[in-house]
Symmetry: D2
Subunit: 198 residues, 4 copies
């Protein structure tokens, strides 16, 4: 069946789903009944129509005819702070921690040391323009604490310093995460944890 | 966004996908572009229209206007043998092993010892009718080698024996699977492996 | 502390224990008290004195001054059957399955396709001598169902056929192990399971 | 064989080793030769004789006839700082991070909310005496960031405050550990990471 194969191929592109699980999902869709399939197809179309990237922070949101999202247009947020995240879903976790009241910028991806991802994925240019045109006084880097995350922050910070040297840049604090055991902590984490003791 | 939440709920029903991964899939769909979303939605509708359950074996297939699937209508398959599987995808593995030339029957589910699943899921009635109306001489049980699989086979075999006592029923052979180590094999597997040595 | 480092090195040789866990074991021994350490040291010496390899099957056993073990000297075991295993512990599982009443031979290791392990590890010569000098009529290969296990059985079977061609050689049966799901079974296992159906 | 069973029981007490792996370790010891077993037994005895708990910090060390260990007797360490750890091995990681120059105290265990472990395991009394008799000005809690670790620190800090209220108590900083992804960080870790940004 051509449609089964084509659908399996599309679903195998979903994050965290391989070819084998894609086949199981298609079997599940086949046996789910036409009402389920029609609702699913309709929502896939609607979700794209309802959500667009915010013209300021690039987060997907239901803009309701506007150009900017509910966070960027919220007058009570602190416009001095700009937190740079890799992807939309990172914002959800930070918002639900309740600890941050500034603005966000969705970078779209991380640079790797071997290949600089095309500007289409990592929005370096858009971030710098944003900082130039706005009242940002501190850029908070909230990327993965991996070599790629550190490298991306370092490279873009250099460019920011060139165009707007009075902007402060900070990294989220390193330390022991919840549930950590001292015995298994790495040296870098222990050094940060000791420095940040309180 | 209402549509994001509704779509996340639907995708969280997919096999092997929890609420967290469902959110990641929706974020992926949002950032995939409208062409991808439209192709996906179209295939979800088409796959349901193209595939229907075969009137004989209940396997989903593109029936092309007929009532029976390509395996059931294949004159060269051995009509004496009927292999009972739990779900469509089990057939793929057996077909690709190239070792079986008989017919199939998709049971749709397994019975559990605590609750007998509704007849709508486990097609006991349909299987017995099939055996009564066809030239089946051997029913091969190819269910999971779990307590539920064994219980389901045993219960339905009793009913088959009542209505058509001259049908032979067999279970797929137990033994060492590829990559097994003797040290970690359980007693039942070792007993079967010893009996089936060759 | 020299002794801590040397003991950690020895314990890191234990099967399934890496350098990190070896350090934890040494810390555990340090804090366990001298009575525990003395009992442990005494049993490590005694276990070596009490157990010796059987002159026939190479299994370690308390020979109580004899040269052959309790299984090899058991008159009620079936002397026609010789099951070849890789290591002592494999015998425990087969004995506790209660399905086998013949004799054993502990091969000591497996051959690999890239390097033939020295005769000191894989007791090919000793096995062939055993078969020549005894009333064995069937050699049952109970090795891991891995490429190495299959290769070892095949290579030694060739030599056995040369010196004693009327000995039957069998492999433990392949099939679905307990708890297997059809969907995830490989082709070779499915073919064997179908052939061994009963 | 009695010795095999007794030795298996002792080894099954080792941290991270269950009954099954204990049997494999004993088989390994049987086949390792008497030289290996004798060296192992000798080191198990010697390691206990060479190492004793330091009279100040309770760390096991080769005291060479003294009562206090190499860290506690090192004049160049900062006597104002006392880091409380659960077990000896935690000290190794912190020492190799190179970030700490104070003294240590090995608590021996953690309290649980349901049962207070006997004073023999958690050295609350010894810790308080140590702080009373020494020039400690800051106690750094380096316990697991689990409910048990937090509870233990909180309970003992209360007692310290009663007997020596001018001692500062700090906890190792919480934050993102190396390799963490924002998407999967919990709220408490994100709040600390934001507070400790730098």
């Amino acid at each position: 069946m051509r449609q089964v194969n084509e659908l399996t191929d599309l679903i195998a592109h979903f994050p965290g789903i391989g070819p084998r699980q894609a086949r199981r999902v298609v079997q599940f869709l086949l046996s789910s009944g036409s009402a389920f399939r029609e609702k699913l197809a309709r929502l896939i179309i609607e979700v794209g129509q309802s959500a667009s990237p915010c013209a300021i922070c690039w987060r997907f949101d239901d803009l309701r005819g506007n150009k900017i999202c509910s966070i960027c247009s919220n007058e009570s947020r602190d416009r001095d702070l700009l937190m740079v995240v890799e992807k939309d879903i990172d914002i959800e976790g930070i918002e639900s921690s309740g600890a941050y009241r500034g603005l966000y910028f969705v970078l779209g991806g991380l640079m790797t040391m071997t290949e600089r991802k095309s500007a289409r994925i990592v929005r370096t240019r858009e971030l710098i323009t944003h900082i130039q045109n706005n009242e940002t006084s501190e850029v908070i880097w909230a990327l993965s604490t991996t070599p790629e995350g550190d490298y991306t922050a370092r490279e873009i910070m250099k460019e920011i310093n060139t165009v707007k040297p009075n902007v402060t840049t900070t990294l989220l604090g390193r330390g022991l995460s919840v549930g950590a055991e001292i015995e298994y902590a790495d040296s870098e984490t222990l050094r940060s944890a000791l420095k940040n003791r309180a």
